[in-house]
């Protein structure tokens, strides 16, 4: 074990957690202030803009909405995003900023991509630099990167209001939430990260692709574009849809260990800090700490497992005279699909973080991970993208699990379960069950359809169990709005574009609607005072049970699939 996790590797991971810990309170508090409508340092800049947006559209940001109004507004807004993006992609050829003269996308690819970006999945059926114009990237994808994350934040805030509210139907104003999330949180953070990335070497220009002659005399066309600005929100908004085909493995998206560190921190920055926002907004910071503790305690062991599996290398290659050991001159391990500058540790860290959060960007090719190393990102998605998860969506997904846990644990202490003073009854259970269990239904059904059809099987790239894993990974990623892939799968076909698109929609809105319904139902309830008979939800014991429930639900649902995919693949690998 020791030789699989080096001291340097350990220190890099520690540094990662340390930086996130440092930002936990300031960013968390800042977001709480924004959503509580308080003045912040940025108010002088953005207040006037915010006001003029409301005036222009005659929106009254103070007007509360009940959960149905909130949901309908949200759906209408997402629909508008879908239509705009779909049209931009479809008619890309007629639009400006298209130096490579890319034609419009096929309808099914445009559908898949539009769905992918409004749902914050950012699954890449397209290959950025070979398919999309700068206009599509900026006005289309970049905008949705912001907006879809802001929608996630809004739903979370609405749910928090539901938990705080007492016998009210008001869960906030969607217009105000989504506008504030964009202007006060995502925009300034993105600008900072974009500048840092630019300084570390990420490109940002509107030039034509560069034609050069290589040293050996070959022609090389180098793709260009406004990457830094898009990269920043891609990471911060847990989007993950790359500017380039290979995403953050591309040296222009992620040129150095520094840029890599900034980006991988950005993946978890907001999902982590939201736990503090949550604690502040429900007036009990310990609740936020309990949730972040549960997340870290699931994440850290899996991360370390992934690192060690990748460092152990590809057993098959040991038949050749190849040095996979780690030493001061090389990272060693399973380097297929990995970049030299990132080595094993940073690739495994990224793979774990990007799937823990529903980011979905990659800096190494997951399909080429060792079977058990690749099982880690898969499992993290199978937990329902609640271990950090997407911006907003991770935490509200986690709260569904909390409610489920409170219910089971509450029964065990002989009381109708309650969470933060709100009774958890059959309606809440219905919504939580829907939110927790529905994505897995789409995964299982989707995989079955793909395996049983010619069109589905046609996309499979790798042989044997790994081929099964590719399909499993794709549907897990889509239905949980992650967006990463075992990218061998040839998914740019009408079959996959459509089916995965449906899964993405279901995975997003089939959770958002129950979440808002839950918010509405909770808001309408009385607040029960806390007594000694109340099950405390911030103790290590509760955190332990919460972790148990998340793992048990995930494992029990996917155990057969995991056995037939990565586990068999692993057993075959070590048998070679």
């Amino acid at each position: 074990m020791a030789h699989l996790l080096t001291m340097n590797g350990l220190l890099q991971l520690v540094a990662y957690f340390l930086i996130l810990a440092i930002f936990y309170i300031p960013i968390g508090n800042y977001m709480a202030n924004v959503f509580s409508g308080k003045n912040t340092v940025l108010s002088p800049i953005f207040k006037p803009i915010e006001k003029s947006i409301y005036n222009l559209l005659s929106i009254n940001p103070e007007k509360g909405m009940n959960w149905r109004e909130y949901a309908i507004t949200l759906l209408a807004f997402s629909f508008a995003g879908f239509v705009l993006l779909y049209l931009i992609l479809l008619f890309q050829g007629l639009l400006p900023f298209n130096p490579q003269k890319f034609a419009g996308l096929s309808p099914h690819l445009a559908f898949n991509t539009a769905v992918s970006f409004i749902t914050n999945t950012n699954w890449q059926s397209y290959g950025g630099e070979s398919t999309l114009s700068y206009f599509s990237q900026m006005a289309g994808l970049c905008t949705q990167n912001f907006v879809s994350a802001a929608v996630g934040l809004s739903v979370l805030i609405a749910l928090i209001r539901g938990l705080r509210g007492v016998e009210t139907s008001d869960i906030g104003n969607f217009w105000a939430d989504v506008t504030r999330a964009n202007l006060y949180i995502l925009l300034p953070l993105s600008l900072i990260v974009a500048i840092l990335l630019g300084l570390s070497g990420v490109i940002q220009n509107f030039q034509n692709y560069l034609e050069i002659t290589t040293l050996e005399g070959a022609k090389q066309t180098i793709a260009m574009g406004p990457v830094a600005s898009q990269e920043a929100i891609k990471m911060l908004g847990t989007n993950g849809g790359g500017f380039f085909n290979v995403n953050s493995a591309h040296p222009f998206e992620n040129p150095t260990p520094i840029s890599n560190f900034i980006e991988v921190v950005s993946i978890l920055l907001i999902p982590v800090a939201l736990c503090q926002t949550y604690g502040v907004m429900v007036n009990d910071k310990k609740q936020g700490l309990a949730i972040i503790a549960a997340m870290v305690l699931i994440f850290a062991p899996l991360l370390i497992f992934c690192v060690t599996q990748e460092q152990a290398g590809n057993h098959v290659l040991t038949t050749l005279n190849i040095d996979q050991s780690v030493n001061s001159l090389q990272a060693g391990g399973n380097m297929e699909g990995k970049e030299t500058r990132f080595g094993i540790v940073n690739s495994a860290l990224w793979a774990s973080a990007t799937t823990a959060a529903s980011n979905g960007s990659v800096n190494a090719m997951h399909d080429s991970f060792t079977p058990l190393g690749g099982l880690v990102p898969m499992v993290l998605m199978m937990f329902g993208e609640v271990v950090f998860g997407g911006v907003g969506s991770g935490l509200y997904g986690m709260l569904h699990f909390v409610i489920m846990t409170v219910f089971i644990a509450g029964l065990m202490v002989g009381r109708t379960p309650e969470y933060l003073g709100k009774k958890i009854q059959s309606y809440e259970m219905k919504m939580a069950s829907l939110a927790v269990l529905v994505p897995s239904l789409f995964v299982l059904i989707g995989v079955s359809i793909a395996l049983m059809t010619k069109a589905g099987q046609a996309g499979i790239f790798n042989n044997g169990a790994q081929g099964f894993s590719e399909v499993l990974y794709a549907f897990t990623s889509a239905a949980n709005n992650n967006g990463s892939a075992f990218a061998g799968l040839g998914a740019n076909s009408p079959f996959y574009n459509t089916l995965l698109g449906v899964c993405m929609l279901a995975g997003r809105y089939w959770i958002i609607i129950p979440t808002l319904a839950l918010a509405g139902s909770l808001a309408g309830k009385k607040h029960i005072p806390i007594s000694a008979g109340t099950l405390p939800t911030h103790t290590p014991l509760f955190v332990g049970i919460l972790i148990g429930v998340i793992i048990l639900v995930g494992v029990l649902t996917y155990a057969p699939s995991l056995a037939l995919g990565p586990v068999v693949e692993h057993l075959h690998m070590i048998k070679e």
Binding site: I49, I53, I59, F77, F79, A80, G127, E129, M138, C142, W175, L187, S190, I195, G198, L199, G201, I203, Q204, N205, Y209, I212, T214, L215, E216, Q220, I222, A223, P226, A232, V246, A249, H250, P251, P255, P257, N314, L320, N321, D323, L329, Q330, A331, G332, G333, N334, M335, E336, G337, T340, S347, N363, M365, S368, N462, N463, S469, F486, A487, E576
Partner: protein, 194 residues
């Protein structure tokens, strides 16, 4: 019904405003700032010859097959190091193609090296994630010194010196991995840059 129509209208309105701010103004401001503060990086960290012509990007690898050059990672793009369409191999660990690719690379390496016993560094026989990886590990670079020295008829120490000059250590001694920029080594071997 009227209400829903109104909401939809507002939705499109807000979406257009966001498109303008987030998809238009934000990238533009970023571009202006970076052009001011980090012009070379913003256009791709290009390496220029002494005469000003562009030799390539220090971030984008080039394909090297001649024995006199340092070779980089295997590239899985349709033609190796196609910087207009990046791609990884996506081969699974048990995929026979992976083994074949490694074997082919080993064969190429062995052609110029008689020392059968030395183990080959893994990054020399595996494809990078992007297909454009500009770097290899020092271990993989050192492995190739004898061949390069022999092909160029220079001593191994000077090749090693160039490699070391083109090597970056871990940032802050902590982040990432130490690595050798293949293009820079080869440009230095050819004397095109300092």
């Amino acid at each position: 019904m009227n209400n829903i129509a109104k909401t939809t209208l507002k939705s499109f309105g807000l979406m257009l405003i966001f498109t303008a701010i987030l998809g238009g103004i934000y990238p533009t401001i970023t571009s202006l700032l970076l052009e001011g503060f980090a012009k070379p990086q913003s256009i791709g960290s290009l390496i220029k010859a002494k005469d000003g012509s562009i030799l390539g990007s220090s971030l984008i690898g080039q394909n090297f097959e001649e024995p006199k050059y340092l070779w980089g990672r295997l590239s899985a793009t349709s033609t190796p190091y196609d910087a207009a369409a990046s791609s990884g191999s996506n081969l699974g660990v048990n995929n026979p193609v992976l083994l074949e690719n490694a074997k082919a690379r080993i064969q190429n390496l062995k052609k110029y090296k008689n020392d059968e016993s030395a183990k080959i560094p893994v990054d020399l026989v595996t494809a990078s994630g992007s297909g454009l990886d500009p770097e290899i590990s020092p271990s993989a670079a050192y492995y190739q010194i004898p061949r390069i020295a022999k092909a160029r008829g220079i001593d191994e120490a000077s090749v090693k010196a160039i490699i070391d000059k083109s090597t970056k250590k871990r940032t802050l001694n902590l982040l990432g991995e130490s690595r050798v920029n293949v293009l820079k080594v080869n440009l230095r071997l050819d004397g095109k840059i300092d």
